[in-house]
Amino acid sequence: MFRDDYKRVNDGIHPDPELLERIRQRGAKRGTAWIWKAATIASACAVLVMGFFLVLPSLKADKAVPESTKDFAMESCEESAVVTEGAFDMVVESDLGIAPAESYSEIFALLSSGRDYAEGDVAFNDSNELVMDDGDLPTGMLQPETPALDPIPTDEAGAGGETLEGASDKNYSGTNTQVAGIDEGDIVKTDGDYIYIIKDQQTLYIVEVNGSEMNVASRTSLFENGGSLFVEDDDGKSYYNENRFALELYVYHDKLAIVVNNSYDGQKYVDGQESWYYGNDSSVLIYDISDRENPAVENELMQSGLYVDSRMVGEMLYVVSSSYVCLDYGINEDEPMGYCPVYRVNGGEKTVLDCSDIYVPKEGTAESFTVISCVDVKDNGGYSSIKASLGGSCDIYCNGDKLLVMAENYESQTGDELTDGQGRSYIERSSYTSTSFLLFELGTEIELTAQGEVRGSLLNQYSVDMEGGYIRVVVTRDESSTTIYTEGIDSYEYSSLRDNCLYVLDESFNLVSSIESLAEDEIIRSVRFMGDTVYFVTFRTTDPLFTVDLSDPAAPKVLSELRIDGFSSYLHSYGDGLLLGIGYNADADTGAVTGVKISMFDISDPNAVFELFRMSVDANHTIASENYKAILVDAQKNIIAFPAEGNYYIFSYNADKGFELESTIALSDDDCLGMSDARGLYIDEVFYVVMAERIVALDMSALSLTASLDYAKDN
């Protein structure tokens, strides 16, 4: 019946008869990325976007957005923003009095206070994704035993190659990381003799490579049943769903670490009441790969929370996760397992973190924990250290000695109803974004040493840097205020302020210096700290590339501001006096993005930075603008390589002629639809492009194809 009715309604739906003609016209004007135009307009409302997302947790997806939120957003897009002078106050906060908790009840009290959203309301956004991260399973909930970890090595093909002890003496590329020497996880890695690949978040491939000879050494299914488990009871009233995804890998000599996110959700009836629960935890699987043909799982370490990010310093792997706490479903203070982060070693019992390992502020509220752990990949008996702090997390920065965890906050205040001079009732509402920081000292024990907060929000991890005892950060500040007249039909007056700032802070988060009010109404598109200088790009319709001198932390100076069309989403040093930008061309009048471009800037005179060369790439979009790990840049080898739309591009740069397109490798359909997981790497004189199904080898000097391997052919 449902099916019939639903079919009948659908059968009566047809597109506008003019649609075909409109597609023809759009096809003729190829080159303008229409999706991104919409995104550009949307970015003008970013403050409200955030407001919207954060309002949402209190709503169910199927409820209408309140009229006020909607109008608030509409107006802001239509009206030009009114700048309010002096709207920013309280720029930086430090020393929030955070310390290890003395008791679990202290933690419980902080979690319980200030929870004002409706009890039992499940927070969905429109995409059916949970807006709030995560929580461990409430105690007493049905949770099937995690399937025993049993990797299934198959396809033990390949000749028995030599397994080298220790690092290869070959010259090979690593993952594109923010800080030299601090490794970041990725789906493809090499150690010079092998290429390690995580395919479809489920399977580990180890491919032996020697020049253009490539052989699959092993294929290991990381989880049973493709990492999926769905259990439904007979009456169709309750279920449990669990999925495991291998996200990133690290290689350390004969050890391989895989970072896994486990997400679960389920529904059950408790005392006749339907209850729905969900959560995530993050695992590290450590494999002994001394025999590359038979990777053997050695250990599995699990910590609460959705995986945020990780770094590897030597053999020490640091994993950060964010664990949302559901306080519904009868969680009680006496059972910390129900509300505090837990960990598990090798399928053993879950252990709740000791309260003294959980940092809490003296007051305030929080709904999630940041969990940070340290694993010795070489000698992995368990967690070397695991700590948690109240508060969320979204990005991390690590320089080897210190690790910064950043979280974005949105704060809004609504005043009481007041009456203005003309006798009209109104309510004032103001909001702003801020970024909070946790600074951890790394070592055998992870220690939280400071916490602070700045106004404004980060673009990504590249917005933050530490050097010489100073934390430097570039943010976009957004502030808005609304006056809502409440008589009759509500009417609104809206003002907003957006600008960009640089803050220099000491390691206790005291403000040392700042440059404020840069590029009003624009947002940051890319940031790169390079020693005493920071380069960043802001954009609305054109791209100012700012160069700021930080050599005197107490007095940073803007040295130059270069305005060109389009913008760079990623900046990378390209040898002496050169800075590479990967980004988009844009229409100088409208800001509409028209396609991918690469630019080379001359930064030899920081007071007069200019664009030397620019090349347009035949693509509307590149994943490289969002995922920097998809980029390979090596100035010494003279390689600039990244995937864009249907191809993997390899460029070189010549001081006289500018960029030259050296090679274009067509990605398979799977790569394109999956927004491309292609990675480039080199080992000595061979360049490899690893795609979803195949690896191709190119000769480095000619960049001509020499071999191809369908490594996932029999999958």
Binding site: Y6, V9, P15, G226, C672
Partner: protein, 170 residues
């Protein structure tokens, strides 16, 4: 009316012109996009982009089913970009059903109920109940685990039952 090409399901389809693609697939893709975006304009944008990508890329399809699945996946991806664009969120109509389909036709309110489901659930419902894909096929199209598709359908059915009455209707 231009010529409508008949497609042999098992054979690799010959490269098709925009017009041929349009007549073969526009209704099917538009209905899917509409369920996802709940907005005629956005649905048309997503369908347009799917056709343009197909023409531009001219992928090699194994057979007509492959072509159809490819177009569906691209339409899903394109309507995702639009739906997640916050600007569209804010400008979307408050009650999407009225503008999306003729209320007289939807006398039992099933279409309106489906539109009230979260995006992934309503996509899975559409592919399952309207296009007749299996859970496994939907999992491949939506690049999600099979168990997750089951969980979407499970929750969708429950909510539909709640909205439409619990008489074994769904």
């Amino acid at each position: 009316m231009e010529t409508v090409r008949k497609i042999e399901p098992s054979l690799p389809p010959a490269p098709m012109s925009l017009e041929a693609l349009y007549y073969e697939y526009s209704d099917m893709l538009y209905r899917l996009a509409l369920v996802r975006t709940r907005n005629r304009q956005d649905a048309e944008d997503a369908v347009s982009e799917a056709f343009l990508r197909c023409i531009r890329k001219n992928p090699k399809f194994e057979n007509a089913e492959h072509q159809k699945a490819w177009l569906i996946t691209v339409t899903i991806n394109c309507s995702k970009s639009i739906v997640t664009s916050a600007f569209r969120r804010h400008t979307a109509t408050e009650d999407p059903t009225a503008s999306v389909c003729d209320p007289d036709r939807d006398e039992n309110g099933v279409y309106a109920a489906v539109l009230k489901l979260p995006e992934k659930q309503r996509t899975a419902v559409h592919l399952f109940y309207y296009e007749g894909y299996s859970v496994l096929e939907i999992a491949n199209i939506m690049a999600s685990p099979e168990s997750t598709v089951k969980s979407w359908l499970f929750r969708a059915r429950q909510q539909l039952k709640e909205m439409l009455g619990d008489n074994g209707y769904v």
